[in-house]
């Protein structure tokens, strides 16, 4: 016998049956029945945020660091519209989220009722799928379907809009096993002929490179494990996008560093000069390819992706393989072993010699200073002092984000949470709280820029209330640094609105929130200050005053090919033409 309960109770029951432990949310009129149901149980923890955008980014941090879907509950109208940036962010970076929104009662829909918004209309383009549930009898099944869709195939955010009368009405609860999900079953296994072709190419390749992305991490820890085994066994060099950092360990000797606009010299030149590119779960984003016409002109390309629309979207490839990264890697590795573990050894040795020359350029080198803290130095010290710890890193968006990707090493997947596709300033602080909630005993650090950090700083209240001791490591250059860099290089040094004016005193701000504030401006004090931050039992706002005019290098200007990279200030004169300036 199916249990009869109210719609609001169904929401909570379905969450429990889906294994949800924590919900990030904010109440309001249209979700009061669900909040009432939450009040009357103890299985699901509710994290009360300070702004709905914060709730969605927290859920993203939670999801990215656990591999489980993040769950959000917000009210109708402004609650839903505040969630839109987070939904778009999760869609771009393929993060599984299930977002519940309240809605005005069904009989008021379309009347411009108080706090009515066309939520499914507004969020249709920024969710993987969404539902307006008008009948309590269908609510439980819809929720189960929503969890299925969010977590299967290419993951993404889904949204369920629930009118208030549907929450009050009663209906029969449906268990997860009974829900119809048969239609949405994306293919996991890749075509074996295509995989064989890929293996054949690997056997003879002279200058191969693995180019990996967030898909490896989304596929699960097993995929990273298979990738590591494959890389070690073949001896091929490997690079990764921003989203894929950690799937192969940064300490591995095959690791070239991140590729792309601010990627390493060796990674980008490998991409440019390779004869076989193995794209595993990345999507040829424009930050990666630079000028399409000159992208890796001499290579044959294999692309493994679970999303058919990613294949041949921007770059035409020789061997597209539709399937889950883990499944395809497993088949490929098995095949490659069965065929005798062949690689072109002499050619590979030559390739590595070439790579060694590129590495010797030492592209991440920067001018050090005894008097001011260089942002790169701050991150090197953070890396050294947290090495080996159970550490998770989130970031905001800007120069600091790129430096973090360059100077922090990730040994494992799910340890690095950053807003890649959408580039959302204000992501890092709430994401760090979401990660900390999922891993209460871990060291969670948000590497932030002062401008980004201010965008969602209200969430420090959430960190305090829920005892999430996430550390806010702010590289404060008193500038919208990335904007300033572009203005310097592209807009004749006219620094229009790229100052961070009237900044708060971050130490006092920390005190106001009731947490610890640390300020550091002298390189000599930095190590002690970082240790103080790590040791403090609670959230910390660390105001690290850094060099104000440092530029982030290497840089491939928009519209340039990989081999026209700027390595330092000396390369910048006239580097970016008017055409490049049009691109973002």
């Amino acid at each position: 016998m199916a249990q009869v309960m109210t719609g609001a109770e169904m929401v909570v029951q379905a969450m429990k049956d889906q294994g949800v432990e924590v919900v990030f949310g904010y109440p309001g009129g249209a979700v009061l029945p669900i909040y009432d149901a939450i009040f009357q149980q103890n299985d699901i923890r509710h994290v009360m945020v300070r702004h709905e955008q914060g709730a969605v980014h927290m859920a993203e941090g939670y999801a990215r660091s656990t591999g489980k879907p993040g769950v959000v509950l917000v009210t109708s109208g402004p609650g839903a519209t505040n969630a839109v940036t987070g939904l778009t962010d999760a869609l771009m970076d393929s993060i599984p989220l299930v977002v519940f929104t309240g809605q005005v009662p069904t009989f008021m829909i379309g009347t411009d009722g108080f706090q009515e918004a066309d939520t499914v209309g507004i969020t249709r383009p920024c969710t993987k799928h969404n539902w307006l549930v008008k009948d309590t009898e269908k609510l439980a099944e819809t929720i189960h379907q929503a969890f299925h869709v969010a977590t299967h195939g290419r993951p993404g955010p889904v949204l369920i809009d629930i009118p208030k009368d549907v929450q009050f009405a009663t209906g029969a609860y449906m268990a997860p096993q009974k829900a119809k999900v048969s239609h949405y079953q994306p293919k996991l296994k890749g075509n074996i002929d295509a995989i064989t072709q890929m293996v054949e190419m690997m056997e003879t390749a002279e200058r191969p490179v693995f180019y990996t992305g967030g898909g490896v991490i989304n596929s699960g820890p097993a995929a990273s494990q298979l990738l590591r085994e494959f890389v070690e066994a073949t001896g091929f060099p490997i690079t990764s996008t921003l989203m894929g950092l950690g799937s192969y360990p940064a300490s591995g000797d095959k690791w070239l560093g991140m590729l792309g606009m601010h990627g390493t010299y060796e990674a980008n030149l490998c991409m440019h000069g390779c004869d076989l590119m193995l794209n595993i779960g990345a999507r040829f984003d424009d930050r990666i390819t630079g000028r399409i016409a000159d992208f890796s002109p001499n290579s044959r390309k294999v692309h493994v992706d679970i999303d058919a629309s990613s294949l041949n979207k921007v770059i035409r490839v020789d061997v597209p393989i539709l399937g889950d990264v883990g499944h395809v890697l497993e088949d490929a590795l098995r095949l490659w072993k069965a065929r005798g573990r062949k690689v072109n050894k002499p050619a590979l040795a030559k390739w590595w010699k070439q790579i060694a020359e590129w590495r010797a350029v030492n592209c991440l080198d920067y001018k050090s200073s005894d008097t001011v803290i260089k942002p790169q130095y701050a991150l090197q010290r953070l890396e050294a002092l947290t090495k080996g710890m159970d550490r998770y890193i989130t970031t905001e968006v800007g120069q600091h984000q790129m430096w973090a990707a360059q100077f922090l090493g990730f040994e494992d997947p799910n340890r690095w949470m950053t807003s890649g596709g959408l580039g959302t300033m204000g992501y890092g602080l709430p994401a760090s709280i979401g990660v900390q909630i999922a891993h209460p005993d871990a060291l969670v650090i948000n590497v932030a820029g002062e401008a980004s950090w201010l965008m969602n700083m209200q969430e420090m209240g959430t960190a305090m209330q829920f005892r999430a001791p996430a550390k806010q490591f702010i590289l404060n250059n008193e500038r919208l640094g990335m904007v300033r860099q572009w203005q310097q290089l592209l807009h004749g040094e006219r620094y229009s609105q790229s100052w961070s004016e009237s900044l708060p005193d971050f130490v006092k701000l920390a005190e106001a929130f009731g947490c610890k504030g640390i300020k550091c401006s002298d390189p000599k004090d930095l190590d002690d200050a970082i240790m103080e931050m790590i040791r403090y039992d609670g959230p910390v706002i660390f105001d690290c005053l850094v060099e104000k005019h440092e530029n982030c290098f290497p840089m491939i200007p928009s519209g340039k090919p990989h081999n026209e990279m700027l390595l330092g200030e000396a390369d910048t004169a006239g580097a970016i033409g008017a055409k490049g300036a049009v691109l973002v």
Binding site: P125, I292, A293, R316
Partner: protein
Amino acid sequence: MSPLNIKQGSTSHSAYDLRDPNGDVIEQHTLAVLVDNESGVLARVIGLFSGRGYNIDSLTVAEVDHEGKRSRITIVTRGTPQVIVQIKAQLGRIVPVHEVHDLTVEGPSVQRELALFKVAGKGDARIEALRLAEIFRANVVDSTLESFVFEMTGTPEKIDAFADLMRPLGLREIARTGVAALSRGA
């Protein structure tokens, strides 16, 4: 092509020239999309086309399986071969979409559109309109002393041709359904 003249594909001096040789050719394709007839599904399809800058030449939709609650959307679209492939892949990604068929490449198909024409006139023009309608096998579905409404089914080209002939004879209004299409054979 973007204003920056950035061409898709790799350069011609590449060892493996991956440029699509038909990269600049615009093709018209007729797609049949089978979807769950749930609320918002049409908005999803249309939103995909507007959001990603694809063209819709014609679009028809109706439930074709009342029990299974399936609708068939027939879309006539145009783009380079690469864009057509993208459109199909993007449609396939929409959760309530069950099948996407490209009738233009999956073998011969029949395409039909229904149109209503209001033609007003007197005397010779009126007689001529009626004579042409007969030739085109258009039916008269309404008539007054000064006007006819013709109903015609045919390919979009046939409907265009009939409209061109009616224009000097007093064509006032046209209503067209857009293309419905099925593959030929079993």
